[in-house]
Amino acid sequence: MRYSFVVHVKMNPGVFDPRASTIERNLKKMSYPVEDLKIGKTFEFSLNAESEEKASFIVKEMAEKVLSNPVLEDFTLERVEK
Protein backbone atom coordinates (compact mmCIF):
# COMPACT_ATOMS: atom_id res chain seq x y z
CA MET A 1 0.00 0.00 0.00
CA ARG A 2 1.02 3.59 -0.61
CA TYR A 3 1.63 5.79 2.41
CA SER A 4 2.39 9.50 2.51
CA PHE A 5 4.59 11.21 5.06
CA VAL A 6 5.91 14.62 6.01
CA VAL A 7 9.25 14.85 7.82
CA HIS A 8 10.31 18.16 9.40
CA VAL A 9 13.99 18.54 10.26
CA LYS A 10 15.07 21.26 12.67
CA MET A 11 18.25 22.23 14.50
CA ASN A 12 18.47 20.96 18.07
CA PRO A 13 17.54 23.58 20.67
CA GLY A 14 21.10 23.71 22.03
CA VAL A 15 22.67 24.40 18.64
CA PHE A 16 23.12 27.96 17.52
CA ASP A 17 21.92 28.51 13.95
CA PRO A 18 23.59 31.62 12.55
CA ARG A 19 21.28 31.69 9.56
CA ALA A 20 18.20 31.92 11.74
CA SER A 21 19.66 34.59 13.99
CA THR A 22 20.79 36.71 11.02
CA ILE A 23 17.39 36.49 9.34
CA GLU A 24 15.58 37.27 12.60
CA ARG A 25 17.79 40.27 13.26
CA ASN A 26 17.22 41.66 9.78
CA LEU A 27 13.46 41.04 9.83
CA LYS A 28 13.29 43.10 13.03
CA LYS A 29 15.22 45.88 11.29
CA MET A 30 12.57 45.81 8.57
CA SER A 31 9.92 46.23 11.30
CA TYR A 32 8.74 42.62 11.41
CA PRO A 33 9.12 41.99 15.17
CA VAL A 34 9.60 38.20 15.09
CA GLU A 35 11.08 36.21 17.98
CA ASP A 36 12.56 32.72 18.25
CA LEU A 37 12.87 32.22 14.50
CA LYS A 38 13.81 28.68 13.51
CA ILE A 39 14.67 27.33 10.11
CA GLY A 40 13.88 23.80 9.10
CA LYS A 41 13.56 21.53 6.11
CA THR A 42 10.39 19.80 5.03
CA PHE A 43 10.40 16.50 3.13
CA GLU A 44 7.13 15.30 1.65
CA PHE A 45 6.99 11.92 -0.01
CA SER A 46 5.13 8.68 -0.49
CA LEU A 47 6.33 5.13 -0.26
CA ASN A 48 4.98 1.63 -0.75
CA ALA A 49 5.02 -0.76 2.21
CA GLU A 50 3.19 -3.79 3.54
CA SER A 51 1.66 -1.95 6.47
CA GLU A 52 1.56 1.45 8.11
CA GLU A 53 3.78 0.14 10.88
CA LYS A 54 6.42 -1.04 8.43
CA ALA A 55 6.24 2.24 6.53
CA SER A 56 6.75 4.26 9.71
CA PHE A 57 9.71 2.08 10.64
CA ILE A 58 11.38 2.71 7.28
CA VAL A 59 10.70 6.43 7.39
CA LYS A 60 12.04 6.74 10.94
CA GLU A 61 15.27 5.00 9.94
CA MET A 62 15.64 7.13 6.82
CA ALA A 63 15.04 10.31 8.82
CA GLU A 64 17.56 9.31 11.48
CA LYS A 65 20.30 8.10 9.17
CA VAL A 66 19.98 10.26 6.10
CA LEU A 67 17.57 13.17 6.21
CA SER A 68 18.85 14.55 9.52
CA ASN A 69 22.27 14.83 11.10
CA PRO A 70 21.69 13.67 14.71
CA VAL A 71 24.75 15.57 15.87
CA LEU A 72 23.01 18.84 14.99
CA GLU A 73 19.40 18.14 14.13
CA ASP A 74 16.18 16.57 15.30
CA PHE A 75 13.10 15.58 13.31
CA THR A 76 9.38 14.92 13.54
CA LEU A 77 7.48 12.69 11.20
CA GLU A 78 3.81 12.38 10.50
CA ARG A 79 1.77 10.28 8.23
CA VAL A 80 -0.61 12.29 6.06
CA GLU A 81 -3.52 11.45 3.84
CA LYS A 82 -2.79 12.22 0.21
Partner: protein
Protein backbone atom coordinates in the same frame (compact mmCIF):
# COMPACT_ATOMS: atom_id res chain seq x y z
CA UNK B 1 33.89 59.97 -14.83
CA UNK B 2 32.88 58.73 -11.40
CA UNK B 3 32.08 55.21 -10.29
CA UNK B 4 30.70 53.87 -7.03
CA UNK B 5 31.34 50.41 -5.59
CA UNK B 6 28.53 49.52 -3.18
CA UNK B 7 29.60 47.56 -0.10
CA UNK B 8 27.04 45.45 1.73
CA UNK B 9 27.74 43.43 4.86
CA UNK B 10 29.36 40.31 3.46
CA UNK B 11 30.55 41.82 0.16
CA UNK B 12 33.95 40.32 -0.75
CA UNK B 13 34.96 41.55 -4.18
CA UNK B 14 34.84 45.28 -3.53
CA UNK B 15 38.58 45.94 -3.42
CA UNK B 16 39.49 44.34 -6.71
CA UNK B 17 36.41 45.81 -8.39
CA UNK B 18 37.60 49.23 -7.20
CA UNK B 19 41.06 48.53 -8.73
CA UNK B 20 39.57 47.43 -12.05
CA UNK B 21 37.47 50.58 -12.34
CA UNK B 22 40.48 52.71 -11.49
CA UNK B 23 42.43 50.89 -14.21
CA UNK B 24 39.98 52.27 -16.79
CA UNK B 25 40.26 55.78 -15.39
CA UNK B 26 37.18 56.08 -13.26
CA UNK B 27 37.30 58.21 -10.13
CA UNK B 28 36.05 55.57 -7.65
CA UNK B 29 34.34 55.70 -4.24
CA UNK B 30 33.11 52.99 -1.90
CA UNK B 31 29.45 53.42 -0.91
CA UNK B 32 28.20 51.85 2.33
CA UNK B 33 24.86 50.01 2.14
CA UNK B 34 23.02 52.56 4.24
CA UNK B 35 24.15 55.68 2.37
CA UNK B 36 21.71 57.10 -0.10
CA UNK B 37 23.23 59.79 -2.27
CA UNK B 38 24.20 58.45 -5.65
CA UNK B 39 23.49 61.30 -8.08
CA UNK B 40 27.11 62.13 -8.78
CA UNK B 41 28.05 58.76 -10.18
CA UNK B 42 28.17 57.65 -13.80
CA UNK B 43 28.46 53.97 -12.99
CA UNK B 44 27.32 52.12 -9.91
CA UNK B 45 28.71 48.65 -9.36
CA UNK B 46 27.30 46.03 -7.02
CA UNK B 47 30.26 43.65 -6.59
CA UNK B 48 30.40 39.96 -5.76
CA UNK B 49 30.47 38.27 -2.37
CA UNK B 50 28.19 36.70 0.18
CA UNK B 51 26.03 39.57 1.39
CA UNK B 52 24.32 38.52 4.63
CA UNK B 53 26.04 35.18 4.25
CA UNK B 54 23.55 34.14 1.53
CA UNK B 55 21.69 32.88 4.61
CA UNK B 56 18.14 33.47 3.38
CA UNK B 57 18.65 33.49 -0.39
CA UNK B 58 21.54 35.18 -2.18
CA UNK B 59 20.79 38.89 -2.29
CA UNK B 60 17.43 38.53 -0.53
CA UNK B 61 18.32 40.68 2.49
CA UNK B 62 20.76 43.09 0.79
CA UNK B 63 18.05 44.20 -1.59
CA UNK B 64 16.27 45.87 1.35
CA UNK B 65 19.29 48.03 2.21
CA UNK B 66 18.65 51.80 2.16
CA UNK B 67 21.10 52.25 -0.73
CA UNK B 68 18.96 50.04 -3.00
CA UNK B 69 16.11 52.55 -2.92
CA UNK B 70 18.54 55.11 -4.29
CA UNK B 71 19.79 52.64 -6.88
CA UNK B 72 16.23 52.14 -8.00
CA UNK B 73 15.53 55.87 -8.44
CA UNK B 74 18.91 56.23 -10.12
CA UNK B 75 17.86 53.71 -12.77
CA UNK B 76 14.68 55.64 -13.47
CA UNK B 77 16.57 58.86 -14.11
CA UNK B 78 18.71 58.13 -17.20
CA UNK B 79 21.65 59.23 -15.12
CA UNK B 80 24.21 56.47 -15.67
CA UNK B 81 24.41 52.70 -15.49
CA UNK B 82 24.21 50.06 -12.80
CA UNK B 83 26.29 46.87 -13.04
CA UNK B 84 25.74 43.85 -10.81
CA UNK B 85 28.47 41.20 -10.69
CA UNK B 86 27.72 37.75 -9.27
CA UNK B 87 26.11 38.48 -5.85
CA UNK B 88 25.44 41.97 -7.26
CA UNK B 89 23.48 40.38 -10.12
CA UNK B 90 21.56 38.32 -7.53
CA UNK B 91 20.72 41.46 -5.55
CA UNK B 92 19.41 43.11 -8.74
CA UNK B 93 17.12 40.16 -9.56
CA UNK B 94 15.84 39.98 -5.97
CA UNK B 95 14.98 43.67 -6.12
CA UNK B 96 13.28 43.33 -9.51
CA UNK B 97 15.66 45.72 -11.28
CA UNK B 98 16.57 42.79 -13.51
CA UNK B 99 14.22 39.91 -14.37
CA UNK B 100 14.69 36.28 -13.36
CA UNK B 101 16.11 34.48 -10.37
CA UNK B 102 18.87 32.10 -9.36
CA UNK B 103 18.75 28.45 -8.40
CA UNK B 104 21.54 26.31 -7.03
CA UNK B 105 24.06 25.19 -9.66
CA UNK B 106 22.60 22.28 -11.55
CA UNK B 107 25.45 19.91 -10.77
CA UNK B 108 25.38 20.55 -7.05
CA UNK B 109 28.43 22.35 -5.79
CA UNK B 110 30.20 25.68 -5.77
CA UNK B 111 32.30 26.06 -8.91
CA UNK B 112 35.39 28.20 -9.39
CA UNK B 113 36.99 28.12 -12.82
CA UNK B 114 37.80 30.00 -16.01
CA UNK B 115 34.98 29.70 -18.54
CA UNK B 116 34.62 30.51 -22.21
CA UNK B 117 31.91 32.99 -23.05
CA UNK B 118 30.32 33.77 -26.39
CA UNK B 119 29.44 37.46 -26.70
CA UNK B 120 25.80 37.86 -27.80
CA UNK B 121 25.37 41.60 -27.82
CA UNK B 122 27.85 43.00 -30.34
CA UNK B 123 26.42 46.52 -30.08
CA UNK B 124 27.79 46.91 -26.61
CA UNK B 125 30.81 44.61 -26.89
CA UNK B 126 31.81 45.93 -30.28
CA UNK B 127 35.28 44.48 -30.67
CA UNK B 128 34.92 41.29 -28.66
CA UNK B 129 33.63 37.95 -29.88
CA UNK B 130 34.77 35.69 -27.11
CA UNK B 131 35.76 36.18 -23.51
CA UNK B 132 37.44 34.04 -20.87
CA UNK B 133 36.45 35.01 -17.34
CA UNK B 134 36.28 33.41 -13.90
CA UNK B 135 33.07 32.18 -12.38
CA UNK B 136 32.88 31.43 -8.67
CA UNK B 137 29.41 30.65 -7.37
CA UNK B 138 27.08 28.01 -6.01
CA UNK B 139 23.79 29.71 -7.00
CA UNK B 140 24.58 30.71 -10.57
CA UNK B 141 21.78 28.82 -12.27
CA UNK B 142 19.84 31.67 -13.92
CA UNK B 143 16.21 31.05 -14.70
CA UNK B 144 13.20 33.04 -15.84
CA UNK B 145 9.80 32.42 -17.42
CA UNK B 146 9.36 31.68 -21.14
CA UNK B 147 7.94 35.09 -21.94
CA UNK B 148 10.83 37.00 -20.35
CA UNK B 149 13.36 34.65 -21.87
CA UNK B 150 11.89 35.35 -25.29
CA UNK B 151 12.06 39.10 -24.70
CA UNK B 152 15.67 38.91 -23.51
CA UNK B 153 16.71 37.07 -26.66
CA UNK B 154 14.68 39.14 -29.08
CA UNK B 155 15.64 42.51 -27.65
CA UNK B 156 19.36 41.72 -27.58
CA UNK B 157 19.39 41.87 -23.81
CA UNK B 158 21.52 38.76 -23.40
CA UNK B 159 25.09 40.03 -23.02
CA UNK B 160 26.96 36.74 -23.18
CA UNK B 161 26.40 33.01 -22.91
CA UNK B 162 28.51 30.16 -21.56
CA UNK B 163 30.07 28.05 -24.33
CA UNK B 164 29.86 25.04 -22.00
CA UNK B 165 27.07 25.61 -19.50
CA UNK B 166 28.67 25.08 -16.06
CA UNK B 167 25.61 25.63 -13.87
CA UNK B 168 22.44 24.85 -15.82
CA UNK B 169 21.49 28.48 -16.61
CA UNK B 170 18.57 28.68 -19.02
CA UNK B 171 19.86 29.17 -22.59
CA UNK B 172 23.36 29.23 -21.00
CA UNK B 173 22.82 32.88 -20.13
CA UNK B 174 25.74 34.43 -18.25
CA UNK B 175 24.81 38.12 -18.37
CA UNK B 176 21.79 40.30 -19.23
CA UNK B 177 20.54 43.85 -19.32
CA UNK B 178 17.22 45.53 -18.58
CA UNK B 179 14.94 47.05 -21.23
CA UNK B 180 16.51 50.49 -21.00
CA UNK B 181 20.05 49.08 -21.22
CA UNK B 182 21.04 50.96 -18.11
CA UNK B 183 21.09 48.02 -15.69
CA UNK B 184 23.40 45.09 -16.36
CA UNK B 185 23.99 41.85 -14.52
CA UNK B 186 26.61 39.14 -15.02
CA UNK B 187 27.70 36.06 -13.11
CA UNK B 188 31.34 35.93 -14.34
CA UNK B 189 33.88 38.20 -12.64
CA UNK B 190 35.48 40.74 -15.00
CA UNK B 191 37.46 42.30 -12.14
CA UNK B 192 39.46 39.06 -11.77
CA UNK B 193 40.75 39.45 -15.32
CA UNK B 194 41.76 43.08 -15.33
CA UNK B 195 45.33 43.39 -14.08
CA UNK B 196 48.60 42.53 -15.82
CA UNK B 197 49.35 39.65 -13.45
CA UNK B 198 45.93 38.03 -13.96
CA UNK B 199 45.60 35.12 -16.38
CA UNK B 200 44.17 37.46 -18.99
CA UNK B 201 42.69 40.96 -19.20
CA UNK B 202 39.37 40.19 -20.87
CA UNK B 203 37.61 41.73 -17.93
CA UNK B 204 38.91 45.18 -18.80
CA UNK B 205 37.23 44.87 -22.20
CA UNK B 206 33.94 44.22 -20.39
CA UNK B 207 34.31 47.27 -18.15
CA UNK B 208 35.37 49.45 -21.06
CA UNK B 209 32.39 48.38 -23.12
CA UNK B 210 30.08 49.15 -20.20
CA UNK B 211 31.76 52.50 -19.67
CA UNK B 212 30.85 53.40 -23.25
CA UNK B 213 27.19 52.76 -22.35
CA UNK B 214 27.22 55.71 -19.99
CA UNK B 215 25.51 58.52 -21.84
Amino acid sequence: MKAAVVVFEGTNCDRETFQALKAINFDVDYIWHNWTSLENYDMIVLPGGFSYGDYLRPGAIARFSPVMKSVESYTMKDRGIVVGICNGFQILTESGLLPGAFLKNKYGNFICKMVDLEVENRDIFTDVGKLRLYIAHSDGNYTTDEKTLDLLEREGRVLFKYTQNPNGSIHSIAGISNEKFNVFGMMPHPERSSLPYHENMDGLKVFEALKRCVK
